[in-house]
């Protein structure tokens, strides 16, 4: 069997060219992922150092110079209240990044723990948890987020908590799957058979094995959380004035689409690039961690 299987592989998919192509592809991907990481670090630094980098007070209105074009005294122009768009974008970046981090944090906490329980507990508990995640996943995410925010009242914290809850099932499934597969592995069997307590098994074997896919999922979830925050803020259900996130900047600028396109173009570009960076980083990590992930699952 193996004899001819080898023969065929040699015949139909010559290993050398595809291996090389894979290497080239991986390398290129990796460079891209690296660039994404550098970009993200720069964005985080810019947001953290906003007070140092800002050229103006982000909240200072100047009705004498409203809707100024980019250039001159204002790098990215001014908005309808004469506020400096560049400085506002720096501070808004803080809001957007922190909001995304909150949502991811909620999703991880609400995902990992039920995931561990579902994987470890018996069939009944597992079934209940999985049905609940199924139910949660049968709501369109944004509709659910809008409904929750509608009930709880619009605020960024509420919005991000809800987004976190909505993304939690992804982590539940991921962790549960890892636990189920790890439980079957011989080294865990051995470890259990000599009486290692369950929490220790989780710390020693399950979490390390789940780490790579978790990191990948965190990066991809950050991208989605960022988009969700932008969407909710665009709808006026997220960040409330006078604070701004990139999404709410677009919402405000939308009214001046015809006269002041820079009000929507720049914050949108920042959202798009940052989300793209999270996605590319996640994909790059998945590709380079591929083998470990497969071994873990």
């Amino acid at each position: 069997m193996t004899a001819t299987a080898l023969d065929r592989r040699e015949a139909l998919a010559p290993p050398e060219p595809s291996a090389r192509a894979r290497f080239v592809r991986r390398f290129r991907r990796q460079k891209l992922a690296l660039a994404a990481l550098v970009y993200l670090v720069l964005v985080v630094l810019a947001a953290a150092l906003a007070p140092l980098l800002a050229t103006h007070d982000p909240l200072a209105q100047n009705l004498g110079s409203v809707l100024q074009q980019p250039g001159g005294g204002h790098i990215l122009g001014t908005d309808d209240l004469g506020r400096d768009v560049f400085s506002r974008a720096l501070y808004a970046g803080r809001v957007s990044l922190v909001a995304a981090a909150q949502a991811v944090g909620v999703a991880v906490v609400l995902g990992v723990i039920p995931g561990l329980i579902a994987g470890y507990a018996g069939r009944k508990v597992d079934a209940v948890i999985m049905r609940l995640t199924d139910a949660l996943m049968s709501f369109p995410p944004l509709i659910l987020a809008i409904a929750f925010v509608g009930v709880l009242g619009p605020s960024l914290t509420n919005a991000m908590f809800v987004i976190g809850v909505i993304f939690a099932p992804r982590f539940v499934r991921l962790v549960r799957g890892t636990v189920l597969s790890i439980r079957e592995e011989t080294f865990v069997e051995a470890s259990r058979s000599i009486g290692t307590p369950t929490p220790r098994v989780i710390l020693r074997h399950v979490l390390p094995n789940a780490l790579s896919p978790l990191i990948v999922q965190i990066s991809l979830t950050a991208a989605m959380a960022m988009l969700a925050e932008a969407s909710l803020s665009f709808l006026g259900l997220g960040v409330q004035p006078p604070d701004a996130s990139w999404g709410s900047m677009i919402e405000r600028g939308f009214r001046y689409t015809a006269t002041a396109p820079w009000l929507t173009v720049f914050p949108g570009l920042l959202i798009a690039l940052t989300v793209l960076a999270f996605n590319i980083l996640g994909d790059g990590l998945r590709d380079s961690l591929g083998r470990e992930i497969r071994r873990g699952s």
């Binding site: 004899a3 001819t4 065929r8 139909l12 010559p14 050398e16 060219p17 595809s18 090389r20």
Partner: protein, 330 residues
């Protein structure tokens, strides 16, 4: 005198690698007569599967190329034939049966539809006629209740039955030549025997010539008229099956024979050939088999060996062919 059905002459094939193009077939020549069964024998990496895929024109064009040689089917040159013409021949005049019956049929279509599709591709005609033909060949290859079973999906058949379906598909347009690539390897021993019987019966019924690709000389003895032994991308010996077994003329054939499990003499330990096939692109100088050969002399190490025609018919690619008396399997 007319030419044999299939003539392969001086075939050279290269694969793309990161070190550039590497030769995997070197001057492969053999013939197959009408209605004849020829065994193409060798270990993995010998080039036997590459040879059969080349004959069918199934090598991926972006990573494999034919650099020399000729393949003629019924007098028609296949090397350099435009893709569409080659497609029209495949399944009609020549076809192939693959090793894995479990994965070689499309799981999403009924087996009757898959066979009828091939029939319509080559014969045209109505869907109904093609379906009728599919049922007919299924019943010919020994599928009971063919009318009903044609409406089944591949996963509803056992491995042996699926291999019968594969054979039915390959024979549906009565090709002149069928290449069977290890068609029984993945099957149980009893099913293997049934499939071999079926292939033999089909050859007799349709007059189809068969190239039987295998690493198992036992199967060759069972079903083939002649054998072509390949090693490291070259043909090392060609002979009639009886002559090959009684008097192998190449040390590699001898080694293969001695590695063959003897059903009659179970007591002896199974011999194996030491070493392994050299990878393409890293062929030893001289005779390619010399690092593993028990009869090696100094001359073998540096002189590339040509195929020597033999007085009794056939060829051998051994420098010492005239002086060695090799052991057959009696």
């Amino acid at each position: 005198m007319t030419e044999p059905l299939l003539v392969v002459e001086g075939l050279e094939v290269e694969f793309a690698t990161d070190r550039g193009w590497v030769q995997v077939l070197d001057g492969v020549s053999f013939t197959v007569d009408r209605g004849e069964t020829v065994g193409l024998v060798g270990e993995s990496g010998s080039g036997k599967t590459v040879t059969s895929l080349t004959v069918l024109g199934l090598l991926p064009p972006e990573s494999a190329r034919i650099t020399a040689g000729s393949i003629r089917l019924d007098g028609r040159e296949l090397v350099g034939l435009p893709r569409r013409k080659m497609e029209a021949l495949r399944g009609d005049e020549l076809s192939m049966i693959f090793q894995e019956p479990m994965t070689s049929l499309d799981p999403a279509f009924r087996v009757g539809d898959q066979i009828a599709e091939v029939v319509r591709r080559h014969r045209g005609g109505s869907k109904r006629a093609a379906w009728a033909r599919a049922v007919e060949v299924l019943s010919t290859v020994g599928i009971p209740h063919a009318e009903r079973r044609a409406r089944s999906y591949p996963h509803e058949f056992s491995g042996g039955m699926r291999q019968r379906v594969m054979i039915a598909m390959a024979l549906s347009c009565e090709p002149k030549l069928v290449i069977a690539d290890e068609p029984t390897t993945a099957l149980d021993v009893t099913i293997q025997a049934q499939v071999l019987d079926l292939l033999r019966a089909m050859r007799d019924e349709f007059g189809t010539a068969v190239v039987f690709v295998t690493h198992d000389l036992g199967v060759v003895a069972d079903i083939c008229d002649r054998a072509v032994v390949m090693y490291a991308g070259q043909v090392v010996e060609r002979a009639g099956v009886d002559a090959l077994y009684e008097h192998p003329r190449h040390p590699y054939t001898e080694a293969l024979l001695s590695a063959m499990p003897q059903l009659t003499a179970r007591s002896g330990r199974l011999a194996t050939i030491p070493g392994s096939t050299p990878p393409a692109g890293a062929m030893p100088a001289g005779c390619r088999f010399h690092p593993r050969c028990g009869h090696v002399v100094d001359a073998c190490r540096d002189t590339a060996v040509a195929e020597h025609p033999l007085a009794e018919g056939g060829t051998s690619r051994c420098l010492r062919v005239s002086e060695l008396a090799l052991k057959g399997s009696a």
